[in-house]
Symmetry: C2
Subunit: 272 residues, 2 copies
């Protein structure tokens, strides 16, 4: 329930407002197919500078419209990582904009951490905080904030079984990239970063996985009973609870509901 | 975002808890096809008594399940007012339960009024409060609370064009019943009551109407931008704002979002 419909406004705003005037004058840039692009465009607009966004040419109309609404300047690329990175590199060379990575960036991680800070202000005695994990920006911020503000609160992450690179990286203690992830939780398809992975190894207590069916059921349950529109990525921790993946008996549990951007004309339970 | 997914929990709880032990011992009873039935069942359970609910035999499975979940004892009847009333009358004769009418009941109106009380506690300087109108329980409570707690706040009601009995009753100052209303806003199909109508005539500032298309657009807008699941009936005041039916320039406006019970597998924008 925050601007751009997703936690990414926290990290994008923190990064854009932490930079000094000289650094920011030529604008900010990123490649993103989704929520970070909209959040960064909005943050740049608030700061009075430009946001250059590299988006794959198969991005959804809804996401392109969101970036445009916040004044982001879009450059389209081919829908693969190599094209995204090379297009961003030449864009930055042309514009002198500062790159703001969607998750592998301390200022962004700091911003995402504020969700947990606020949660612990409201509920200081939580035993467990649950968060989803994709690139690890939200999870790193969550784990750092919990560790810093409340020693007794542990952090557990949930990830789709069908995009379980963070789960495997965490348990074998060796980085596993995300290759062809096939999950409805579109915010959780990315690999961990060089900054987020070590933080997660050190500060996160456990990572568990959930089935696609459970993600859809959890999303529907929250819509029906809490009356809150959440996207599949946000439903993953609830799915882990529903699938009994986390020992939660007699525990006080906080869950980060990470975002609510969904295509309302294409809901997953219409296909099942 | 309250129990049973709708404001009706307020009125049902107030009525059930205001009655003394002797009055309540044989249970409470009502006829209702929807939200009041679930809310009354829950209130009775909390008070430790029984709820006898007369429901049309064509009620949706979702609504039957909600009543059963809260422990309501259902008697099915034919889907017309005569059958509902006669079935309820014989049920009350058999059980000695107390009838709690869904809206034409001062204790229920009092309970619904608490929504406006809380709204004015948070925002004491509202110029206008908007509420939908069906049977008039919520609207009567809204208007009485606004009048009592904040003299400067006026109350305007919104109603579907295709169920405009309250609109016509208000403007011609003579009661018009709701006959064959054909609106997606299923909570607003009922006629005003003998208690609610005079309150509305005296305390409500205006009633406006909205199109079905605007109701659907308003509902979708709230889902998309506020991330709150609201039902069509709750979207009607937003629809009136979107259709410019209310002079709102430079005004501070509060809107009562009345409920969020929708069938998620059958959303109206899938058909348009």
């Amino acid at each position: 329930m925050q601007k751009a419909g997703v936690f990414k406004s926290r990290g994008a705003c923190n990064a854009v407002f932490a930079l000094d005037d000289n650094s920011i004058i030529k604008g900010v840039a990123t490649h993103s197919s989704g929520n970070h692009a909209a959040a960064l465009s909005r943050a740049a607009k608030l700061r009075g500078t430009k946001a250059y966004i590299v988006m794959p040419n198969n991005s959804s109309k809804v996401k392109i419209a969101a970036v445009e609404r916040y004044g982001g300047i879009i450059t389209f690329c081919q829908p693969n990582l190599a094209s995204r990175e090379s297009t961003l590199a030449s864009l930055i060379e042309d514009t002198d904009a500062v790159e703001i990575h969607p998750y592998n960036e301390p200022l962004v991680i700091e911003g995402q951490a504020t969700a947990t800070l606020e949660l612990l202000e409201d509920y200081p005695d939580l035993d467990i905080i649950l968060a989803p994990v994709g690139g690890g920006g939200l999870l790193s911020g969550t784990a750092l904030a919990a560790s810093y503000f409340c020693r007794k609160t542990i952090v557990i992450a949930a990830e789709p079984e069908q995009a379980d690179d963070a789960y495997r990286s965490f348990h074998i203690k060796s980085f596993v990239p995300s290759i062809n992830p096939d999950t409805i939780a579109d915010g959780l398809r990315t690999s961990l970063g060089s900054i987020t992975y070590p933080i997660i190894l050190k500060y996160v207590n456990d990572i568990v996985t959930t089935s696609e069916d459970a993600i859809i059921s959890a999303m529907k349950l929250v819509w029906e009973r809490m009356k809150i529109v959440i996207e599949p990525s946000a439903a993953v921790p609830i799915a882990a609870l529903m699938e009994d993946k986390i020992r939660c008996r007699n525990k006080r549990i906080g869950v980060i509901l990470s975002g609510g951007n969904v295509d309302l004309s294409n809901l997953p339970w219409q296909h099942t």
